[in-house]
């Protein structure tokens, strides 16, 4: 055989070339500078303009919670027959939003979707803050919050243990594990970037704080080797975790005997809805962020485009689940089930149902068209619609299955109180306060991960220093 063939390889057509993840051939030093400067220097005016209303809203949340604890859980709307009201709706809504963060950080990591590196840090932060907002509702709705520790298997004066045959106990374990593992995953991802911040720090306080939290990270390859393995394992563990969390949340409903709740489709339907709403929130947060912080070369239009596609896919799964629920209600032949579903769509709360269908199923279909996926304003508005739609989904599930019981004598109506509304609004304040603090003090994009996906980082790429004929 000859040493060389005379076979010539034509360069691939332009349409098959990969779009670079970081645009304009930015150097790896530029990546540190551009991302770290968001958390350095003087606090910009826009930050204060966003932070002050957020912290005021967060204060309102704590005032509402203090009012509830001092007065009683009756200041909220739930009461016979709708014993689960806004508290559970808001809990499921917030925890669902968190799911996109874990999907991006864990599942897309395992699938080797390198574009995730530009958005995973902010999405994970969103997860943690959303789970914190979610956690407030179940803890407070128990009424006597000072006995909240009874939810955990801790010895108490009654010597009674929690009752593990109830899905509510499964929920306690799922949500607390979810919060702990998400926070650790986020922090471990932050360690190398905190070292970047430490090495750039100018003031003593910053040097000390970033130095402490970066755990003495040096960028040693012996460390990277263990670090990458741990990161991979955390991604591998977070994947079944995120799928289990919303499945278990859905079991709170599905294990009961109520028409409209007692269905096997709930776990996958809830997980898809959670990812859908989470991507909605990621888009809502990142579209203004990339413009304000001048991150267009890192969070590129391709990233927005891909996230729109995930939103479209999960929105369509949710639409399929709505259809299948209706089909089974008819095909199952259970008159109670059938009545509940007809009532959902055409009964007292018909407006909620059709808001949900419009926001979750109809509007996201616009993302089939590339022109719409590249119109930032439209994407941003649709992302807010997604979150409105998903809130109404939980409202429909919770309220319509409860307000018309099996016996007409039990029928009632549901109205939130002003405390319900103010508490829910307050959680937005908490969420945005925490998110803005995150923007101001931590690297908002995973610096070392973004560096790692540039061509300059590849030792086998000419930009990475490779010379011809290597290996």
């Amino acid at each position: 055989m000859a040493e060389q063939t005379n076979l010539k390889l034509a360069p691939p057509p332009r349409s098959l070339e990969r779009i670079p993840l970081v645009q304009n051939n930015r150097s790896i030093g530029w990546i540190s500078d551009q991302i770290a400067q968001i958390a350095e220097g003087k606090t910009p005016m826009w930050w204060w303009l966003a932070f002050i209303p957020s912290i005021l809203l967060a204060t309102m949340l704590f005032v509402m919670l203090a009012y509830l604890v001092s007065t009683g859980v009756g200041v909220w709307g739930p009461g016979h027959p709708v014993m689960w009201g806004w508290a559970i709706i808001n809990f499921v809504w917030w925890i669902g939003i968190g799911h996109a963060g874990t999907l991006i950080s864990a599942i897309l990591f395992l699938l080797r979707q390198k574009w995730r590196t530009a958005v995973n840090r902010a999405a994970e932060a969103m997860t943690i803050f959303a789970v914190m907002c979610a956690g407030i509702f179940p803890v407070v709705h128990i009424g006597r919050v000072w006995f909240g520790y009874w939810l955990f298997p801790l010895p108490n004066s009654n010597s009674i243990w929690p009752q593990f045959r109830s899905p509510l106990m499964w929920d306690v374990f799922a949500v607390s594990t979810y919060f702990t593992v998400s926070a650790l995953f986020w922090y471990i991802g932050l360690v190398p970037d905190l070292a970047v911040m430490r090495d750039r720090a100018k003031t003593k306080i910053r040097k000390f704080a970033y130095g402490l939290f970066s755990l003495g990270w040096t960028g040693s390859n012996r460390h990277w080797s263990n670090y990458e393995k741990a990161y991979l394992i955390l991604a591998g563990l977070s994947t079944p975790l995120v799928l289990s969390v919303h499945s278990i949340v859905s079991l709170d409903f599905a294990v009961s005997q109520l028409p409209g709740w007692h269905t096997t489709i709930f776990p996958p339907y809830f997980v898809a809805g959670a990812v859908f709403s989470g991507f909605g929130m990621v888009l809502t947060l990142l579209i203004p962020l990339r413009t304000i912080c001048k991150l267009e070369d890192v969070i590129t239009m391709r990233h927005i485009d891909l996230m729109c596609k995930v939103t479209l896919a999960t929105g369509s799964i949710v639409g399929y689940a709505y259809g299948m629920e209706f089909f089974i209600a008819w095909y199952g032949g259970n008159p109670f089930e059938r009545t509940i579903f007809m009532n959902r769509a055409f009964g007292t709360f018909w407006w909620g149902y059709w808001t949900m269908i419009a926001c979750n199923v109809v509007f996201p279909q616009l993302f089939w068209i590339k022109k719409f996926r590249h119109n930032l304003l439209l994407v941003w508005i649709l992302s807010i619609f997604v979150n409105i739609g998903m809130w109404f989904e939980r409202f429909e599930i919770v309220v319509t299955s409860l307000y018309r019981d099996f016996i007409p004598a039990n029928w009632g109506y549901f109205r939130p109180t002003w405390v319900d509304i103010a508490t829910y609004m307050g959680t937005f304040g908490l969420f945005f306060t925490l998110f803005l603090l995150f923007l101001r003090f931590l690297p908002v994009i995973a610096i070392s991960e973004v560096k790692g996906v540039t061509p300059q980082a590849d030792p086998h790429h000419p930009l990475g220093g490779a010379k011809g004929g290597h290996h």
Binding site: G216, N221, R222, S225, A230, I233, L241, D458, P459, G464
Partner: protein, 179 residues
């Protein structure tokens, strides 16, 4: 300056990942033991270039996961079937199916603790001080430069020979780091 600081090692700076990787291959083949490469991001193929074995973090995570699952199952069985059994809806006092979701979550929780604790233990982190962190140029290791450090404790270390070897790898900036 009361006492002359002891040298910690010799540090060589590189501009590209390919350069530092070739240097690492050379140092590996020369049989050094106490040396390391410092990079702003993990370089694909560097473990091989340094001759590192597969990380052992997985074992820590595995032990954590098994502990979590066992703990969950045994705890639920003991609490609900042994210590204080209560009849609820005619359900069995203990069923592996009802106990599965919390045990599953505990598997993940303790598996994650294991992975993180294992990583920190194997890396001997956290540590509050490192001689390299005092070195002026070294802060670029988290920015855009690549470093290779051979410690003076290495049995093959020699002040002149090691420097020559590093010069032959193409590094333009070779310095001594003090303890």
């Amino acid at each position: 300056m009361s006492a002359t600081p002891r040298p910690y090692g010799v540090i060589a700076e590189f501009d590209t990942p390919a350069d530092v990787m070739h240097a690492a291959e050379k140092i590996r083949d020369s049989g050094f033991l106490n040396w390391d490469v410092f990079t702003p991001f993990p370089i694909h193929g560097m473990d091989n270039a340094m001759g590192l074995k597969n990380s052992k973090v997985g074992w820590f995570s595995f032990v954590g996961g098994v502990t979590g699952y066992t703990l969950g199952m045994v705890m639920i069985w003991w609490m609900n079937a042994v210590d204080y059994p209560i009849v609820v809806g005619g359900k069995p006092m203990f069923s592996p199916f009802g106990a599965f979701p919390p045990s599953y979550e505990l598997t993940i929780l303790l598996g994650s603790f294991g992975a993180i604790a294992g990583m920190l233990f194997l890396n001997r982190l956290p540590r509050l001080h490192h001689p390299l962190l005092k070195h002026g140029r070294f802060r670029l290791a988290t920015h855009d430069k690549f470093f290779l450090v051979i410690e003076t404790t290495d049995p093959k270390y020699s002040e002149t020979e090691t420097r020559k070897l590093l010069e032959s790898t193409g590094s333009k900036r070779i310095e001594i780091v003090e303890e």
